[in-house]
Amino acid sequence: MTTMAIPLPRTKAPIARLLRSELRMMLRRPRTLVGLGLLAAVPVIAGIAIRIAADGDGPVGEGLSTLVAGNGLMLPIFSLLAALTMLLPLVGATLAADALAGESTNGTLRSLLVAPVSRPRLLAIKAFGIATVTLLACLLMAATGTITGIILLGGDGMLTVSATRLPFADGLGRVLLTALLVAVQIWGVAAVGLAVSAWTDHPLIVLSVALGLLIVSGVLSAIPALDWLDPVLITSGWESIGEVARDPLPWPTLTEGVLRAGCYILIGYSVALSRMLTRDG
């Protein structure tokens, strides 16, 4: 006698299908598209401004920006660092706010839960969506920055802060590295946002907390008496991403920032998960 295996009914939808659906939804949201469009325009505007300044008599500016004139591949790096101070965290926090708090308010989270999508899975899908779209934002800025830089500012390869000249491909590698390093920092902010998002139904609270955290962190790091706090502040080391323009690359400095963001991601995600498991749908 042959035993027949009765196929158990499926209890989960395929994960790839869910991730695709999540990304499609996020990229259809007008807010996301406007945000991405504006971010993509930042390097273009910066490039035009630097070009005009370089053509005139006055000084181009200070810090990295002096290096951008006539050094096109430095434009995307400069733009990403400029956006890291406020614009990109704003995008990360907005995405985190929409992911749970926003979806809970318009009832779509409930629909997914009864489909059913299990709670840990739902959080993972949301985190994947936020991480992908923020990475996309950084890569988009890198792309428009590179193209604008080459067209408007030109340059042969990349002139580093250490006064060496890198070939074009290596320069491009540095741009990509910057985009990744910046994205990781934004993930840290978004993870904190996601944790708050799991606790509230009000997206604005998520935005306030995430941006408030950055501001407080910036203020605290500016007080010399509180220097001992620096290792745990989320914004510590954001400026040091500019070190990618050195030759050779100062890896210890760069990895430190990644590890710090990693801690924030871990903590934020854990808090979000613990709340997600018990929150009312």
Partner: protein, 319 residues
């Protein structure tokens, strides 16, 4: 037979407020159960606990034979639900919203999703507006889309929370037809509503909730029959009929074209016998059928049965 849903001693406390207490609900397989109750009586809270959206403070829930919360992943794929109004993304069209819901349905194969979506849209009469943004939908269309989402995959149990909210008469009729279709196909339906006529027209069973607890549940006809304690007798000789019954300690009162005898203490044959003995011409005798409305009012309003008694007493006093 396993009930589609069963709860025992269900209790939910929100920040010190008891929303639901001692709810023992049983939704028989294959039934269309109407869940009735005034606003705030715990209908939605109970439904949310049935779907695992909210964890009960105490008590047990069984959904399609699976104990919650562990059985949720097994039970939910076969359960369709419209809870607390339709929840969709405003910037996506109706079809795109359903495609997204379809992607999350374990019971649907990936290739089958677009067809299932079209079919569900057709079923709720939204095919013509499928590609308009959800934002631009009227309240009734939003409600229809919510219904479509509940019907997206093959279901054994469908839970509809206030499905006719915001619908015009045609929409209400459509919902009724959808429920009838589901019932004919053997799907169990739990529908909460405060529209009594709606429930009376579509349901085989009812559960009445009041102040967070189930005050009555069961087969609709049985409940209504048990509640009707009156016998309507048509007779031209009203005065003699009432007197004859009162002499035999049966409360009765005059109604248009006859009398209404109270059956709480006696039976229908006894009433007829008394009347015939007294020589009252009896043209027609029938049981008074209480509407669901009366039953509902009696169960959910303070000191409800008093009204008939008070009326009878007044008639007695006047004489």
């Amino acid at each position: 037979m396993v009930a589609a849903a069963r709860t025992r001693g269900l209790r939910k406390v929100y920040r010190g407020t008891v929303a639901v207490d001692h709810v023992d609900l049983e939704v028989p397989t294959g039934s269309v159960m109407g869940m009735l109750g005034p606003n705030g009586s715990g209908k939605t809270t109970t439904i949310r606990m049935l779907l695992g959206l909210v964890e009960p403070t105490a008590g047990e829930v069984e959904l399609l034979g699976h104990r919650l919360p562990d059985g949720l992943p097994r039970a939910l794929p076969e359960v369709g639900a419209l809870v607390e109004g339709p929840g969709f993304h405003p910037f996506l069209s109706g079809r795109e919203n359903l495609l997204r819901m379809g992607a999350a349905e374990p019971a649907l194969a990936t290739q089958a999703i677009p067809a299932a979506v079209s079919e569900a849209l057709e079923r709720v009469g939204l095919a013509g507006a499928a590609d308009r943004r959800f934002k631009a939908y009227s309240l009734g269309m939003k409600q229809r889309l919510g219904l479509a989402a509940a019907l997206l995959a093959p279901r054994r149990f469908v839970i509809l929370d206030e499905p006719t909210n915001g619908l015009d008469p045609a929409g209400t009729r459509d919902v009724r037809a959808v429920i009838a279709d589901l019932h004919a196909a053997g799907t169990t339906v739990l529908v909460s509503s405060h529209l009594l006529a709606e429930v009376e027209a579509t349901c085989t069973h009812v559960a009445v909730l009041h102040q967070g607890t189930v005050v009555a549940q069961g087969d609709l006809t049985t409940l209504l029959d048990a509640d009707s304690a009156g016998l309507l007798v048509s007779t031209p000789d009203v005065t003699r009929a009432v007197d004859a019954l009162r002499d035999n300690r049966i409360p009765a009162r005059a109604v248009p074209n006859g009398i209404l005898a109270d059956l709480t203490t006696t039976t229908a044959p006894a009433v007829v016998e008394t009347l015939v003995r007294a020589g009252v011409p009896v043209h027609e005798v029938r049981r008074q059928r209480t509407g669901l409305e009366d039953l509902f009012a009696r169960l959910t309003e303070p000191s409800p049965t008093d009204s008939l008694d008070a009326e009878l007493a007044m008639i007695g006093d006047a004489r």
